[in-house]
Amino acid sequence: MRRRQGRVTRRFPVAMIIVTLILVLQVGSYFFTAVSSFFSLGLVGSGIAARFTAGGTLTAAGREVVVSSFMMAFGVVALGVLVGFLFRRRWAWTAGMTWAAVSLALGLLNHFRGEPQYLSMLTGVALMLALNSAVVKRAFYEGEL
């Protein structure tokens, strides 16, 4: 099939591919965690069950639903950032860096609480370095560096 004439293709630097992959993995991870929880709780198959609350407080299953909902929300946000990133929107870069900062802060917090999540820390470091690399910044802030 012939390529459409006049279409401009933009090269994707390696650091941007790394950022994209990390974001894709995070989106996938959040959605997977959320959806698998919903399935295991029978939420998706049999509708909303009354067993998630008892006496005005959340049951263990209810708490899991809340956590999973947050995961789902994070996933949606991460997906939005990913889409913005692929379209090279400046807000997506800023959101990505905020994401990296929050992720690193949570990673450190967990580490000092004795519950280290080294993979999350490693991803945070990689995401920060890749986002702040001169080539990626130039792609988003052309003419300002």
Binding site: R90, W93, T94, M97, T98, A100, A101, L104, A105, G107, L108, H111, P116, Y118, M121, L122, G124, V125, M128, L129, N132, S133, A134, V135, K137, L145
Partner: protein, 619 residues
């Protein structure tokens, strides 16, 4: 005196070379444009001295009155007095005031300001001009004034009243002009004495001091009996060299009005600028070398090794704004007020014989609050470069006057052409010798009994070959040099000077409104933030000592977040925060997985080498 004549073929203003020194000074005298709210203008030495007293600061820290107030004049000032080594003579324009006098002076100044109606408005965002860290340094700098010697705030008010009284008696605007001739240039120096520098107290700048000597230098060259204006150098803070000069045909950077250079004067600081605007002056704190070394090393690692963006800012830089708007009084030919010129030279007694300070010696180790010395001296009594080396002062000592430039070029051209002819002859001779030796070498090559002779000849050939090579190289360079010089000569003959700014590397430029203006919320935040931090710290210490660290962390995070949003620097701030967190995380990961890191590095190295060798095998 009318404006200088402008020949039709030349845009630079000019005058007859036979003009006297005073005529020269008057022909090119500058127009000084001040900012609204300025209180001090160029004054005369006699009037200023008549209000001062002369003192000496002795090495043991005591001060002695030499001549009482109202008795100082130029003759007494120039008289030599013996003091122990390390002493500093200084004048006092205002005497120490009692509390009652201070209150009276401040009230009087407030009344004068109300009546004059030319109040200075700094504009929104002045307080927010620096970031968070520079603002902390700014606060430390302000607090340091309590420990360093400084000119009291009320002194500025007293100086205003004294200056106003002298102007009511005899309103004159004076410059002290000096004409010197060096290396083909005629240099006009305009020196301005201000009774007081109220940059800090009047315009939130870096310093206040009694007396202020500023200067404007004009560089003229002679051609066919006329003197043409070519360069101008305006003194501005501690800038030097090509930072403070402009070429006069640069119409974008240099302004002439009827042949008179226009100078925009900084409010209170009296620094001179080529353009109207607001200038971001800065003081860099004297941090220890090891801190600077660490900061530079980290910046190099961050930008060069990790290819990260940023890392160019110096946090120890305290920004100050110098307002040179030019919306106030204008002094000069055809302006609000005219000049009263006065000629000075190396033999003017008060210039040459008084190396002391022209105002209060505030004992400030950073010198910002001490008064300056006169036109010929530095505050330590050493000669002032602008006086004895006006060309080098503006980095013009390697710049010949345009007519001399053609002469220099022609001398260079004929010297190189002569050498070139000599080289051509030499090369021809030496190449002939080399060829003859080559023939001789091949003739004795197959004769074992001439082995020693063969070795010597081969060495001689090598030496001669090297010599010919160096001659050819010199000849080739000369051809290139001749081309460049010839090209330059042609351009100069066609009156084409070199690129306007090719010789001017770092001219001071005003900052844009975008860089200096922030909204009212940012302004209010900048004014309140430091006090707020201190109050929160006090609150944590008193009410929540158990949560002090987490509280401080939350406070710093919140302050940084608000600050970055208000200043429009959110991206930069979040990047800095993420970078710090990433560095801590990376160190923790390295400490925890050091073995695996080494293993990964070794495996990576092994794979890399393996791939390299496999590629070689496949070739």
């Amino acid at each position: 005196m009318g404006p200088p004549e402008k020949p039709p073929y030349e845009s630079s203003p000019s005058t007859a070379a036979t003009a006297s020194d005073v005529e020269l000074l008057r022909t090119f005298e500058p127009i000084l444009r001040f900012t609204k709210g300025e209180s001090f203008f160029p004054t005369d030495v006699d009037g200023y001295l008549s209000r001062t007293s002369l003192w000496v600061h002795l090495p043991d820290g005591t001060e002695k009155l030499l001549i009482g107030s109202g008795q100082v004049d130029v003759e007494k000032l120039a008289k030599h007095r013996d003091h122990p080594a390390g002493s500093t003579e200084f004048l006092r324009f205002t005497e120490p005031l009692s509390v009652a006098d201070s209150a009276r002076v401040l009230t009087e100044v407030a009344r004068i300001r109300r009546e004059a109606g030319d109040k200075f408005h700094p504009g929104i965002g002045r307080l927010a001009r620096g970031g968070f860290i520079p603002r902390i340094f700014d606060a430390v700098f302000a607090l340091s004034l309590l420990l360093r010697g400084r000119v009291p705030h009320v002194t500025a008010a007293a100086a205003k009243i004294a200056y106003r009284e002298s102007m009511l008696k005899d309103e004159r605007y004076v410059y002290y002009g000096r004409v010197s001739r060096q290396a083909g240039w005629t240099i006009l120096q305009y020196w301005f004495l201000y009774s007081y520098n109220n940059w800090r107290s009047g315009f939130s700048g870096a310093n206040d001091h009694e007396a202020d000597w500023e200067n404007v230098l004009l560089y003229l060259f002679e051609e066919e009996g006329r003197l043409y204006l070519e360069w101008a150098g305006y003194a501005s803070h501690d800038f030097h060299g090509d930072e403070l000069r402009q070429r006069c045909d640069d119409v974008e950077e240099f302004h002439l009005l009827d042949g008179h250079p226009v100078v925009w004067v900084g409010a209170g600081s009296h620094a001179s600028y080529f353009q109207p605007g607001e200038y971001q002056a800065a003081i860099t704190l004297p941090l220890p070398h090891w801190i600077r070394f660490l900061s530079r090393s980290f910046g190099y690692f961050w930008t060069q090794i990790l290819s990260q963006a940023g890392g160019r800012r110096d946090p120890a830089r305290i920004p100050f704004v110098d307002y040179a708007r030019g919306d106030g009084k204008s002094i000069g030919p055809g302006q609000d007020a005219a000049w009263s010129p006065s000629l000075i030279d190396d033999d003017t007694p008060w210039v040459a014989e008084y190396p002391g300070l022209w105002g209060l010696y505030a004992r400030d180790p950073l010198s910002g609050e001490n008064a300056p010395a006169g036109p010929m001296h530095n505050p330590d009594g050493s000669p002032r470069r602008a006086w004895y080396d006006p060309l080098g002062y503006a980095a013009l000592d390697n710049e010949p006057p345009p007519p001399a430039a053609i002469e220099f070029l022609e001398q260079d051209l004929s010297r190189i052409e002569l050498r070139q002819a000599e080289l051509d002859r030499l090369i021809e001779t030496k190449v002939g010798e080399l060829q003859a030796m080559g023939v001789q070498l091949s003739a004795i090559e197959s004769n074992p009994h001439l082995r020693d002779r063969h070795v010597i000849l081969a060495a001689e050939i090598d030496d001669l070959r090297e010599h010919v090579r160096s001659l050819r190289k010199e000849s080739w360079e000369n051809v290139a040099m001749l081309g460049a010089l010839e090209d330059r000569r042609l351009k100069l003959q066609q009156d084409q000077k070199c690129g306007l700014r090719s010789r001017v590397l770092g001219t001071i430029q005003p900052v844009t409104c975008r860089e200096i203006r922030f909204n009212r919320v940012a302004e209010a935040w900048a004014a309140l933030s430091l006090s707020l931090i201190l109050l929160i710290v006090v609150g944590l210490l008193v009410f929540a000592r158990n949560y002090i660290w987490i509280g401080l962390l939350i406070m710093v995070g919140t302050l940084l977040f608000v600050e970055s949003i208000l200043r429009g620097h959110y991206s930069r701030t979040i990047t800095a925060i993420a970078a710090v967190l990433a560095i801590i995380s990376a160190v923790l990961l390295l400490v925890h997985f050091w073995l695996w890191v080494i293993v990964a590095l070794l495996v990576g190295l092994a794979l890399f080498l393996l791939l390299q060798k496999l590629r070689e095998l496949r070739r």
